[in-house]
């Protein structure tokens, strides 16, 4: 399987002074950011039935966004527009439309400009007597993603943001592989049956998948480790999927992908420090963690450290003699490729069905 997100392969040392970042997308290319809401944008508490019942009655000002997420979304839009790129921000939620007003107001309070928001019409399902599918996520989200994709230009590149609470890693990976042609529509039905998706939704997903122009459109999938899940558990989804523990780590990876400016990363870090009382060591440790896990090159991490130190968010780190002599070139490593490895969905679904994740 090929990828649009392969690392820059410019020749000569000069290429490496670009801090190991990927080749920039052409300015004309549209960048699409698709966000899940609960546990990804919002720190929604629905561990118990009581907490779940409280959600519809929460006021917009009572809803809490994940630390740094609002600053990140604002930064992504600004970075794209600053480079003359068209940008779209969409939200896709499995919450009912009845809470839409509070959500829209919350996004407005956070200064988020978005281009669309989709809710799951739970009442309609209730009226149809489909109680079993009230909590079904895979079929609902996958069909909505496929429908939304057909409205975008073929060249639009996508970044998807979800969490580790339900089935976002599976849904987003299925969507990315269907869009790229790596997963044939004929194979989709069996997989969706394995995920216990509503049969009409299986047929709809197959139809949408067949109609879709095949192209590698999903560059990265970011999964917010809210539970937190061990990152190795998500390795089965390949290097395209990046598990992150906070939005500063996500911002650092997006900087490497050249869709967020270093100023955007600094603003996310500042939001964490000022609004969520993060300390400099927490930022430093987060950066070191995402670098160790291979999602960030040492050179990118070094340039971010310098930017954060200049902004007074990290203590300045003395440069090593070798760095002073050769710059970051000598110890640059390529970031993990974002191209999707062949994902063994059959095994994954077998495991997930047993755990009841898909249902």
């Amino acid at each position: 399987m090929t990828s649009n997100g392969t690392p820059a392969r410019r020749r000569g040392p000069a290429a490496w002074f670009g801090a190991g970042r990927r080749a920039a997308a052409p300015p004309s290319e549209r960048v699409v950011f698709r966000w899940d809401l609960d546990k990804t944008y919002l720190l929604s508490e629905f561990e118990s039935l009581r907490e779940m019942m409280r959600i519809p009655f929460e006021k917009p000002e009572d809803k809490v966004a994940a630390p740094g997420v609002a600053a990140l979304i604002r930064g992504l839009r600004e970075s794209a527009l600053g480079r003359g790129r068209a940008v779209r921000v969409y939200f896709l939620s499995a919450s009912p439309p009845q809470i839409g007003r509070a959500i829209r107001r919350k996004l407005e309070l956070d200064g988020i400009v978005y281009d669309g928001i989709t809710f799951k019409d739970q009442l309609q399902r209730l009226f149809r007597g489909k109680f079993r599918h009230l909590r079904e996520q895979v079929g609902y989200k996958l069909t909505e993603l496929l429908k939304a994709r057909s409205l975008e230009p073929e060249t639009a590149r996508e970044y998807l943001f979800g969490d580790d609470w339900e089935s976002d890693p599976l849904i987003y990976s299925l969507y990315a592989d269907i869009a790229s042609g790596g997963l044939a529509p004929s194979d989709l039905a069996e997989l969706l049956r394995g995920a216990r998706v509503d049969p009409p939704l299986i047929a709809e997903a197959q139809q949408l998948a067949t109609a879709l122009a095949k192209r590698e459109v999903v560059t990265r999938i970011f999964i917010n480790l809210e539970r937190p899940t061990p990152p190795a558990q998500l390795r089965a989804y390949g290097p395209r999927l990046v598990p992150t523990f906070n939005y500063f780590q996500t911002a650092a990876c997006l900087f490497q992908d050249d869709v967020l400016s270093s100023d955007g990363v600094v603003r996310v870090a500042r939001a964490l420090v000022e609004d969520s009382h993060y300390e400099a060591t927490q930022l430093e440790n987060s950066l070191a963690d995402i670098e160790r896990r291979g999602h960030l090159t040492p050179a990118t991490a070094a340039s971010l450290r310098a930017a954060l130190a200049a902004a007074g968010l990290l203590a300045p780190t003395p440069r090593r003699l070798s760095d002073r002599l050769f710059g970051p070139w000598h110890r640059d490593r390529r970031p993990k490729s974002t191209s999707a490895a062949m994902i063994d969905y059959r095994t994954l679904l077998g495991v997930q069905s047993a755990e009841g994740v898909a249902e």
Partner: protein, 338 residues
Amino acid sequence: MPAVAVDAMGGEHAPEEVVQAVAAVSLQTDIECVLVGDAGRLERLLESTAYNPERIALVHASESIAMNDEPRSAVRYKRKASLTLTLRQVASGRCVAAVSAGNPGAAIAASLRELTVLPQLHKAAMTSVYPRAVEHIGQDPLALVLDVGATVRCTAAELVQFAVMGATYARVISKVAEPRVALLNMGRDATQGDEVLIAAHRRLRELSAISFVGNIEGHELTSGRADVVVCEGLLGNIVLKLLESVASAAVDLTSAAAPRSWRLRAGMAIMAGGSERLRAQADYATYGGAPLLGFEQVFIKAHARSKAAAIANAVKVAAKAARDGLVPALKAALTETQ
């Protein structure tokens, strides 16, 4: 956010259990752990567990000291050993405390090399905790014994300093308002024992700063009579290992005898829950750690058999010791009793 340096490669279950412990601490507390060891191996282990990366830093150490390494030469020649680099994190001020479950002899040798001995002190003391009977509600079920091996032979003055340090630790960390201190001896009489013990007894009795309850004999150790037991390193080490072996030896001997008698077998079956409780109570692998006292820095030595829960407790104790000002309290107490 206090930072605690943790020797990831020290102990019989390292690095797996150490990484598990640090991961758990990162999720449960605001303590930052600096894991020192083979970075590649540690990263792979971390990725397979739930953790909070904001509270974990890794420092690479290319060498480690094994449990059966000769302590002094290991510390001398393995310059990049995880234990040495762990202590350097504290000596440099990057961390407020250190934890290791590694080779105890090497821990002492490396501490003497890397850490700073308190100015008023003659010798450092290694402490340990052991289970004892509780006389009243709220009493700590663990008593402190020192020295258990740092100073093999001691003078009377050194034993007095150990008593002062042990009492201070019990007051600051275990929150015992007036810790009762006893001197381990062969009888309760003040004139029993050798010259060192007789002199130490006299000096301790004259010391108003601590609550000295006199000599304590071996059979009284597990009673609730003393919160702190003082002895020289050689004796302390023997006592500690004997205490460790008693519970399991009792259970093992009874189990071995059981097949010969149906009455014993029936009795064992009835007592199964109790024996397990006894074994668990005496299991040092669950206790966490105890400090090496006498340095400007906090160093908690966990038992070599420690599992994740014990190491996590040791990290919490280390952070607590730094937070609650153990070292300034030790300095003040030693100055006061000089």
